[in-house]
């Protein structure tokens, strides 16, 4: 074993939860529905079935049943050509249905906010037990609610409905009479992030169960998009510890990392740094899905008579351990940072995130097998007039190569074809920002098919109005 080996990634879980009933609670649909409740039927008509969501090839790529590169050869629109081989059991993780998601919400609910009916709880238990993600004991400990126990708080305005297949299957209560940080909508957002983080973590634990007990995990770092808090501290956080608790990690504590969509990738770096410093030997980085981003582009999808593609919550869990030669390592010596003094030009950002790590590793642009950048599914964004996000990022990388004399202008398309990938990740912000490719990179590296991948994530800090700057982080992962 190499004595100087950096910490390694030994397991990754990429999970999805179908959430069409929650699209109405996504930020854009919620605001539009408040102005025009009549939109509900237009939205309802465009929600797709679980089978359609599972068969959708970008989702199959996310959970590991196909490589993202394979999407290039598949005819568009992808939503019109479901994969006949599709499975909800992904090589990297499970794609659960909405009943299972509601069951998970109930399982993860520690504040007695969630009520679900008996049929939904039973369906959830069956599904989650088949997937070996829950024990019979913990599901049996949950109580379902009668119809009027669900309906009454909704009618009085103290709870919001939880929908399943077009009917009210449960409710989620607000956490306080007056606290704006504890409304039912905010709590649903937070609980959805928690639950899909727990889903990813439980799946990760299942992947490594033959060699590791849950107690072997010492620390959990979460990097999602929610804000857990109360009126005195709206972003108090530490969803990491709540996730660790609901995944049964009795010997762990943790914290959250926040930098908009760069959070999760920062978490991976931080985990490796803690291990490298000898503080811990096993750290999990986890992220749950973004409820706020459900249905973000729904207007365009409805107008174009397409399915509403933003109907899934994504989760990820990454296990980082001390260096061995058997797994790809996180090159802590290649950190790409966009500093305050770098300035906010596009060139400064791409220099920092791409040329920074390459220079530290004494590599050229072509020495990197793949660039994992903002991998958002173009079928979601192009139809809404927002372009192809990964393609735009690859053009920036290639253009910088041209300016630095490493690439000719004519070679740009070939460079992108060889070192880039089509987008495939659900538009779940931090999930699409590089980390969605970790599982694929680890698989390819362990199979000897790849040597080096640059992971680069951006955080749009300017959206919070505290700075006009953007942020990003990057580093190399090597076999």
């Amino acid at each position: 074993m190499s004595a100087t080996r950096f910490p390694v990634i030994t397991a990754v879980a990429n999970v999805l939860a179908h959430a069409p009933g929650m699209v109405r609670y996504g930020s854009k649909p919620l605001r539009d529905l408040a102005h025009d409740p009549g939109l509900a039927s237009a939205i309802g008509a465009r929600l797709r079935s679980y089978e359609a969501a599972v068969g959708y090839v970008p989702n199959q790529a996310y959970i590991g049943n196909r490589d993202p590169e394979s999407l290039r050869a598949l005819p568009r629109p992808w939503f019109a050509a479901p994969d006949p081989q599709a499975s909800s059991d992904g090589a990297f993780g499970d794609f659960i249905d909405e009943a299972e998601l509601l069951g998970l919400l109930k399982l993860c609910d520690r504040a007695r906010l969630v009520q679900i009916d008996s049929g939904t709880l039973a369906a959830a238990s069956d599904g989650l037990m088949r997937r070996k993600l829950v024990t019979p004991g913990e599901m049996a400990a949950l109580t379902s609610a009668q119809e009027d126990a669900i309906a009454r708080p909704i009618a009085s305005g103290d709870a919001i409905p939880l929908w399943l297949d077009g009917r009210v299957a449960g409710s989620l209560a607000r956490g306080h009479e007056e606290d704006e940080a504890l409304t039912a909508n905010v709590l649903l957002e937070n609980l959805a992030a928690k639950s899909t983080g727990v889903l990813a973590l439980r799946r990760l634990l299942r992947q490594v169960e033959s060699r590791l007990e849950p107690d072997a995990i010492e620390f959990v770092i979460a990097g999602s998009e929610e804000a857990v808090g109360d009126r005195y501290q709206r972003g108090g956080g530490n969803l990491a510890k709540a996730i660790a608790e609901s995944a049964g990690l009795g010997r762990a504590t943790g914290f959250d990392i926040k930098s908009f969509c760069a959070s999760t990738l920062y978490g991976v770096f931080n985990a490796a740094a803690l291990i490298q410093a000898g503080v811990f030997s096993r750290v999990v980085v986890v992220a749950g899905g973004s409820l706020a981003k459900l249905g973000m582009k729904y207007r365009a999808h409805v107008a174009k008579e397409m399915p509403i593609l933003e109907d899934v919550l994504a989760g990820i869990a990454i296990l980082v351990e001390r260096g061995t030669d058997s797994y790809p390592c996180i090159r802590l010596d290649t950190l790409g940072m966009h500093t305050v003094g770098a300035g906010s030009s596009q060139q400064a950002v791409v220099e920092a995130l791409v040329m920074g790590p390459l220079a530290k590793a004494a590599c050229g642009l072509r020495d990197v097998d793949r660039y994992a950048t903002e991998m958002h599914n173009p079928e979601v964004t192009e139809t809404a007039g927002s372009g192809d996000v990964p393609a735009g990022n690859y053009r920036l990388i290639a253009a910088l190569g041209v300016l630095r004399g490493q690439l000719s202008r004519e070679a740009i398309p070939q460079f992108i074809a060889a070192h880039g990938m089509p987008g495939y990740a659900p538009t779940q912000g931090h999930i699409a920002s590089a980390v969605c490719y970790l599982a694929h990179a680890v698989r390819a590296m362990r199979a000897g098919k790849m040597k080096r991948v640059l992971f680069m994530a951006k955080g749009s800090l300017f959206l919070g109005r505290m700075t006009e700057a953007a942020d990003g982080v990057s580093f190399l992962v090597e076999a």
Partner: protein, 105 residues
């Protein structure tokens, strides 16, 4: 388009008027640039935002249109725009701009 800042733009225009006011855009796709330009001139075409049905009449330019670029300090251009100009298909992105400016209404 989801021009979420439509409300604030409307405020700014109310306070300052439209005399000598132009919009300068930086999107990297023709579709995005077109939607923003139409919204700021003629109102939100999706009838969803604060500018639905409100024609501010403000003309939009893309930062990479030649008539804009030639007025920019060359050192500033090098630092702020050179990479984007190489990365985007500039002709394709700026194609809708003149037509939108010159169209009636």
């Amino acid at each position: 388009m989801d021009l979420e800042g439509q409300g604030r733009i409307q405020q700014v225009v109310k306070q300052n008027g439209t005399d000598r006011v132009i919009a300068v855009l930086g999107a990297n796709s023709a579709a995005a640039v077109e939607m923003t330009a139409v919204t700021i001139k003629s109102g939100d075409p999706s009838y969803a935002g604060p500018l639905a049905g409100i024609a501010l009449g403000v003309p939009s330019y893309h930062i990479l249109e030649p008539e804009i670029v030639e007025q920019i300090d060359p050192a500033v251009y090098e630092r702020e725009l050179a990479l984007s100009a190489l990365a985007m298909d500039v002709d394709e992105v700026i194609a809708p701009m003149k037509t939108i400016r010159e169209s009636g209404a």
